[in-house]
Symmetry: C2
Subunit: 295 residues, 2 copies
């Protein structure tokens, strides 16, 4: 009971501090010199830690203790960070800046960025398996994270190489890519938090429904920011999507249409949480915050 | 008892057939179109499957059933295959051919090779977690494979970027790199087979001792082949090590010195198996076969 009260009072900043402390300690083992430096550069880069926070808040929403979900939260962030490092590579999106700093391959070199990304992937699974206190839970987490990471990679293939069937309509194609590229890890964050927190089957169904809406919303907001914000404010190149002829929400629905889509997704995300008590409030706040991220 | 007799009679070719059938079935799920093709191109490329066979033979050596170790064997091969794909990339070893065929980035493109390698890594852990019959064993396998994959990546960093302390002597440096780059997955193959087969602590210690010698021997033979064999016979560029100024056994010990080193490692590997009965004969044969690979 005491733990629950304590958990409730924790701000997102508190959660991020705990996730980072746990990750920092974990990454100080088994790494060495330049590889360790490269991994740390990529992982501790001022990211918003949306996925780990989502994982911990979901664990709380079903009455779990966030301490039990710290490894899961860190593992998701490692997968997210690896995907950014590899996506930024010259052969992929060829980005020189991220969050206002040189991307890892610009900071070090391409070989190191490839290897550091590989190391982060492996570290994610090593972190999930680090404790054998509850092997049945741990193995379920490995199942979810590996499955969803694969979906994410598939999304990146389709986004980069346009490999979807020709007969697919643009909006369907866009949703497919977003569901995979961004949605999969959001889904994993929520499902892993639910599993660690001991969610019932019906709770888990509702939570992953929430996650699905959140994932689409997240990318719609991202697309919108790409057209409405300046590069300076974003800390990375903007307007790149249109330049590269990528499918985006604003490109298909216009700016106003995209805002309407975001509103709809927010409403659906909130509805999915209707059966939860106040312990799910941080999840509700998170959806609202993400929806209004552009302001 | 019947299973044991059956297992004993299986040739390496039989084992490889089973590993491949299991992998082929696993990889037909969750993959799609070009990403699936790329992964299959890299995984089914006529590799010798030394690691999976080693895993299954170790499982047999301690009285286990090879059926139980097929997923572990496949997972190791996926990690091995991913490492080759990424090592071949232009930013790394920049190899155009492997096993007589274009490398994956030459067959497709760089972005696809990066993503397919990522997908293989993730698939390896998905395969280990696919069954939740024995979560305690599965999570132990995830621990071993993730830990050893990290060591392998570290070895590649040191090999590619020469990041070891300057005061380290050449032979020590060479052994460090080989122990990591090649030895780690050989070690993982043996330890995972031992865990699945239910090895005792002392059996496992002896088996990983065997694996350590085998790993060093494997790379020493590889180095030797690089200087003594023609490119045609190897199906890849040879003489590259010397050209790139890499540390090699023949470079440090000469061709004869390398052969003596291989003999010594073989003897030590056989000694490590002295406490095992005839069920470990395939492991003994394997060591001998690997030692004489150059002929």
């Amino acid at each position: 009971m005491e733990t629950e009260v304590q958990n409730k009072m924790l701000s997102d900043a508190d959660l991020i501090e705990r996730v980072d402390a746990n990750l920092r300690q974990f990454l100080s083992f088994g790494m060495w010199r330049s590889l360790g430096e490269a991994v740390n550069y990529a992982v501790f880069s001022g990211g918003k830690r949306i996925r780990p926070v989502l994982c911990l808040r979901t664990c709380q929403a079903v009455g779990g203790d966030i301490e039990d979900a710290l490894d899961a939260a860190g593992a998701i962030e490692l997968i997210h960070a690896f995907s950014l490092v590899h996506d930024d590579l010259p052969a992929m999106d060829d980005d020189d800046y991220r969050r206002g700093r040189p991307t890892l391959h610009r900071h070090t070199n391409e070989a190191m960025a490839i290897l550091a990304g590989d190391a982060m992937t492996v570290q994610a699974f090593r972190l999930l398996a680090a404790s054998d206190k509850h092997p049945d839970v741990s193995i379920r987490l490995v199942q979810i994270l590996s499955g969803m990471s694969l979906e994410m990679i598939l999304g990146q293939v389709h986004d980069t190489m346009g490999d979807l069937p020709e007969e697919m309509e643009d909006l369907e194609r866009l949703r497919y890519i977003h569901n995979h590229k961004t949605g999969a890890l959001i889904w994993a964050s929520v499902e892993m938090g639910a599993v660690v927190g001991g969610a019932t089957k019906s709770q888990r169904d509702a939570l992953v429904e929430y996650a699905g809406r959140l994932g689409l919303m997240f990318q719609a907001v991202d697309d919108l920011l790409d057209v409405t914000q300046s590069a300076e404010k974003m800390g990375k190149a903007t307007g790149k999507d249109a330049e590269q002829g990528k499918l985006t929400y604003p490109g298909l629905l216009g700016v106003d249409g995209t805002r309407a889509e975001i509103d709809k997704l927010l409403t659906q995300a909130m509805e999915a949480l209707s059966g939860f008590d106040a312990k799910a409030d941080p999840l509700r706040d998170m959806a609202k915050k993400l929806a209004t991220r552009e302001k």
